[in-house]
Symmetry: C2
Subunit: 407 residues, 2 copies
């Protein structure tokens, strides 16, 4: 991408009401634009980052046999009334609207109900199971407050996966596979070292659910971890009873803050029973389908990564999610000519700062935008033997022969 | 994709309230699932088709310098009040909702207002222009009736492009480029022969706008075309006055039905003026930005293609938008073994019917699903010299040497 051709500019200031670091930096660096609290637009660089995050998740889910769909935001209340979740007393984050033809609709905050209802068309026999269906979908949640940038959206992108099984054993086995996939996903996203599978409240159908918590000072959750971080507990289950269950002592745990980037949950019959999702067993008995659900907040993950790695100069993207791997700057006649040649051959990997502005401004923008490697070519670098390559995360600089740049 | 592994099944019947051919066939073939009138989910094959349509549009827009973003559905009324478009009297298809923190929000039926407001951050000088910004975004329109399957959605996917210019000449020039891009897009979508740029009412700011109408018996518009189809007029401008303007005679025109798949519109200052999108000229005068907007209904296009090419056996996809190019069936031990080998090498192009069902059921499903080429390998076809390849559109069948299948 040529910066001279894009409409994006880095901005000196973020909106006055933007209190979150991720929101302010992503806005200033030209990744997002704020519509209102918790509602953001994704600009070209932001959309590229979102797509990279989605593709990492997609690859790992497809690898364990999951299938991608896309469901609607508009919701028929009937299904949600069957599970008791349409009432504002039960679920207090609904956006509701009126159909002009008559009747109330909801904007889906999650998709268990329509997913189960849809699967009634496709599941009839044990032979049809197991099934694993996911989507990347824009969810709507009518949050009273939304002050965490893209880490807490009223409109946000989520990956939600639902699994369907004939037995608890089969559910358990697939649940384990998702744990494996999530481990790979958070590693590839650059959050592997700081993201922990955390025990959280399981609601009324299971003792625990699992959250994926990324350690982050501005995270909304309080979590406790033991010395080797082999056991991490959300505050809501950090009770004497639970600690006794695990045979551990509260004094061996350290309190910290976490941002929940994912969660996985054994639903069992919670939705299949009220909505009547059944299958015929081998001996032709009619049984409810076992279910699990597995979320990752895609736009939240982008906010967490932004927040976690940022420094005083701006964003610092891990390579796998950066919109471009290289930020290219030419200085002087020779440098500019050589960068044009390099850009022509590696367009997809390069954010090319071909603007008519001072090198210092280009360097500052490359840092604010957080592109992993900056390549500068000038008379000086050429005299030193090639291009100057600077690593955004470490600040390390080296001279690289032009022929070695993309090998 | 292996049919034995996907949750999709072809269905014998569509929902009782599904009156549109596209909706019924796409449902029966496992591409979509109906949530309510005008609201559909996209199943794996449907999502693949949508993505192919998006990619064709994306490629042609990127080729003329457009940049992709993604804006929010939730809308702050303020911007729309500035243009007079928040009132239900002016725009009667709003879905509105209440923010729990207080205040009414709208769900965007289109995006001129937020787009213009956002660009105020990025446009200040003539040097910043022209700019071309588009998105693929889910629109919400509170239609009183929605009986046309995915051809008229209450929630639907649209590509909307907005252009920003310093002069009417520059707007005109870019408008011409979009006309060129649209011609290529509809050709690549398989609709080139049947889609015409059509004069329609321009509202109060221009004499005409242009619609792209695909000739279709169930289309919602009445259009008139002359003998060589060099002039096509929407009924709304098929008036004695307009005919006189063009120097043509009503009797030389034929009436037919069209489905509007796209539209392009010179907005000039319609939104930049009330919202205050201005730029500084070379001699530092402050002027309003000229604008154009350019839509294509992505999910509608999918419905139109489904509707247009369907026959009594089911869907018939043009190759460029088919979820898979080949439908593969093995019969008998040798045939099955050979299809497994072929599938392993060409997974991305093949919908592999490896289910344990009769060949006749597989053939019927391949036709219902509308996959362009069916490859059957059996003892009989092997004895004849290879695989039997059947063209879904023409019904033409030939024997192809296995080595020649994917060359």
């Amino acid at each position: 991408m040529r910066l001279s051709k894009t409409f994006i500019k880095t901005l000196r200031t973020a909106p006055k009401d933007e209190t979150a670091t991720n929101g302010a930096l992503l806005t200033r660096a030209g990744y997002i634009h704020k519509e209102m609290a918790g509602v953001y637009d994704y600009l070209p660089l932001g959309l590229l980052t979102i797509e990279k995050i989605k593709n990492i998740i997609r690859e790992e889910l497809n690898a364990i046999g999951c299938e991608e769909v896309l469901m609607s935001a508009l919701q028929n209340p009937e299904l949600w009334e069957a599970t008791g979740r349409f009432s504002d007393q039960e679920v207090d984050i609904w956006f509701k609207t009126e159909l002009s033809a008559g009747g109330v609709l909801g904007l889906a905050p999650t998709h268990e109900e329509p997913m189960v209802e849809m699967m009634k068309n496709y599941v009839s026999s044990y032979k049809d199971l197991p099934l694993y269906v996911y989507q990347f979908q824009t969810k709507f949640r009518n949050e009273l407050r939304a002050k965490s940038g893209i880490m807490r959206g009223r409109e946000f992108l989520m990956k939600d996966l639902y699994s369907f099984h004939t037995s608890e054993e089969d559910l358990d086995e697939f649940y384990g596979k998702v744990e494996g996939a999530y481990k790979k996903i958070f590693e590839r996203l650059g959050l592997g070292d700081s993201t922990y599978e955390t025990f959280a409240s399981g609601g009324i159908f299971a003792k625990f659910s699992h959250e994926y918590q990324t350690i982050l000072p501005v995270g909304e959750d309080t979590i406790y971890y033991n010395k080797d971080k082999s056991l991490v507990l959300n505050k809501e289950v950090f009770t004497p009873e639970v600690l006794a269950d695990f045979g551990v002592d509260a004094k061996d745990f350290t309190e910290t803050r976490g941002a929940e980037v994912g969660n996985i949950f054994k639903l069992k019959f919670k939705y299949s029973e009220p909505l009547g999702l059944k299958y015929a067993t081998e001996d032709n008995k009619s049984e409810f389908v076992y279910m699990g659900c597995y979320g990752i907040g895609v736009s939240r993950v982008m906010g967490v990564i932004a927040e976690k790695f940022a420094d005083d100069k701006g964003l610092v993207w891990p390579e796998a999610v950066a919109p471009f791997k290289y930020y290219l700057v030419g200085i002087g006649e020779d440098g500019t000519r050589k960068t044009e040649g390099i850009y022509a051959e590696h367009k997809d990997e390069i954010l090319f700062d071909d603007r008519d502005v001072r090198p210092g401004e280009k360097f500052a923008d490359s840092e604010l935008m957080g592109i992993p490697q900056r390549i500068v070519i000038s008379d000086k670098t050429l005299a030193s033997g090639g291009a100057e390559v600077t690593n955004r995360a470490t600040g390390e600089t080296k001279i690289v022969d032009l022929k070695e740049l993309f090998v």
